[in-house]
Symmetry: C2
Subunit: 312 residues, 2 copies
């Protein structure tokens, strides 16, 4: 089989998350259905294409730098080019662009290096959460992926509080509990800033990067930060939550629509296989990502609401 790496983006608003679920509109389902048409697996009597993804986002969460892989029969891969003089890579991207709905884009399709696994080879994931706390600079054209919140935020306090969480810790206070799953993660970056220029100018933005995230972790970290930023909690509150190793009973998980998976990082090609083996061993007691998840609601949360649902 030829392993193909797909780089892709989606607007999560109208999806019940990444993972395929019967009867629901999911990103995985949309891409697999389109791949089945382009690769003609059914006509060849082969199994339908199945995607493995780096970050299984929940309902309403967006992605710009998502990575997935699919294993394809080499003959079908070569056949994708059809009668054109393009290679199968360009042909697949072009044909998927014609078949996929406008809220999913596959940017690149490339044969993966030996040892590559979209999920297990990844060394880190980077998420961004975007908040607008000021009607003066609120952009209605970006409201699908920015949380609008009423009270002004103290970004310095949020940043100070966030720094205390960096490093390797048990993040169970910020994780939706899951039986048999470890909640130890290495938080590499947790920065709050208010950029003065660029695409996110005037927004309040969290950059959150870790080796991996447990379920609902980014949205719980952001929810706790907003409590600090609004002055409802002290700067030390995030550290207190971490040490207490208890999920804050009043801890708000922020709405999904402000969250975007921006980037997944892989090691150099010669370390892909060893990294994958290492991750599989570490996660032997941590089947968070491998377990099927309960069906999530397909209704997008209303902007501004703080919902009890959970996502990364």
């Amino acid at each position: 089989m030829t392993r193909i790496r797909l780089d892709l983006s989606y607007d999560g608003t109208s999806f019940a998350g990444w993972a395929r679920q019967p009867g629901l509109r999911t990103v995985q389902g949309a891409i697999e259905d389109a791949l089945e048409v382009v690769l003609r697996t059914q006509r060849a009597g082969l199994a339908s294409p199945r995607l493995t993804v780096a970050g299984r986002t929940d309902a309403g969460v967006h992605a710009r730098g998502q990575v997935a892989h699919v294993d394809v029969d080499p003959a079908l891969w070569e056949a994708v080019r059809g009668r054109s003089d393009r290679g199968p890579q360009e042909a697949l991207v072009s044909r998927l662009a014609g078949l996929l709905p406008p809220d999913v884009v596959v940017h690149r399709a490339t044969p993966a290096p030996v040892g590559f696994d979209a999920r297990f080879s990844a060394v880190r994931r980077r998420y961004v959460y975007r908040v607008s706390d000021d009607p003066r600079t609120r952009d209605p054209l970006r409201r699908s992926h920015v949380l609008w919140q009423r009270r002004a935020l103290d970004v310095d306090a949020m940043q100070a509080g966030a720094q205390a969480l960096l490093g390797r810790h048990d993040f169970s206070a910020f994780c939706k509990p899951r039986e048999g799953a470890t909640t130890i993660r290495t938080l590499e970056i947790f920065d709050w800033e208010r950029p003065s220029s660029g695409p996110d100018a005037a927004l309040v933005v969290a950059h959150v990067q870790a080796d991996a995230f447990c379920h609902s972790m980014v949205r719980a970290l952001v929810g706790a930060s907003l409590a600090v930023g609004e002055g409802r909690r002290s700067v030390d509150w995030l550290a207190d939550l971490l040490v207490g190793r208890l999920r804050d009973p009043a801890g708000a998980v922020v709405p999904a629509h402000g969250l975007t998976l921006e980037e997944v990082t892989y090691p150099p090609d010669d370390q892909l296989a060893s990294r994958a083996a290492q991750t599989r061993a570490l996660r032997s007691h941590d089947e968070v990502d491998a377990l099927p998840r309960p069906a999530a609601s397909s209704r997008p949360e209303p902007p501004g609401a703080v919902a009890p649902g959970a996502t990364r």
Copy 2:
């Protein structure tokens, strides 16, 4: 009466344009309805607030830097602050944020300087049209305000062709004809570029600035440019169209959703009144903006389609 200047943005997707029309969802209607609630004109037995706008955008066109004015009874203006210690400016913005739908945002509400008229005092309008010609960099989160087009564009050719149109000309070749209306305009900027960084990185972007625009002018300029960029027409074609003073029978007016009014510029305060008087005199035979327009379709055009409809 106290004249209030409003600075505002909207996502035009679900609006039948700016101008109030019976039975249709319009930006003017949404804001006027909200102003009526906040200002309590009805309870005071006064006429409903009526907005005058700098750029009357058509159905589906967006705005980030739109400017409008409304004349308000001074007592009602002072009463907006209610029991809060905020001034009426902050109170109005805050209350409108709570009343307006999420696709309209009023950023600022300020008493206007003497002589200010949102429409007639303006010295220039700047529009941006955004196109993506490459699935590798297409962002599904911005698809509401970027035209996705299939063929790759030659931006250098588009830019070269556009430069020939700069200056004061009769733009009837690019205007939807309207009886009794002059089509002479001064095109100050018409630049095509492919930014390598910033919010529009990797897109193909037109910056179009003029003293004013006749109806459908920006979308006709962009449509003609795309024909050049795709190689269907030569670089000289835009200049040929201009000189011919005939609307190109095959000229495509591009879809509305790629177009955003970004900025309206006013002269220094001491020239506001004279500028308004000057504009009124020049437009004595040019009632383009003052005439009621036919009802536009409220259905957003599908991305990628080239519709026969028209807008600025």
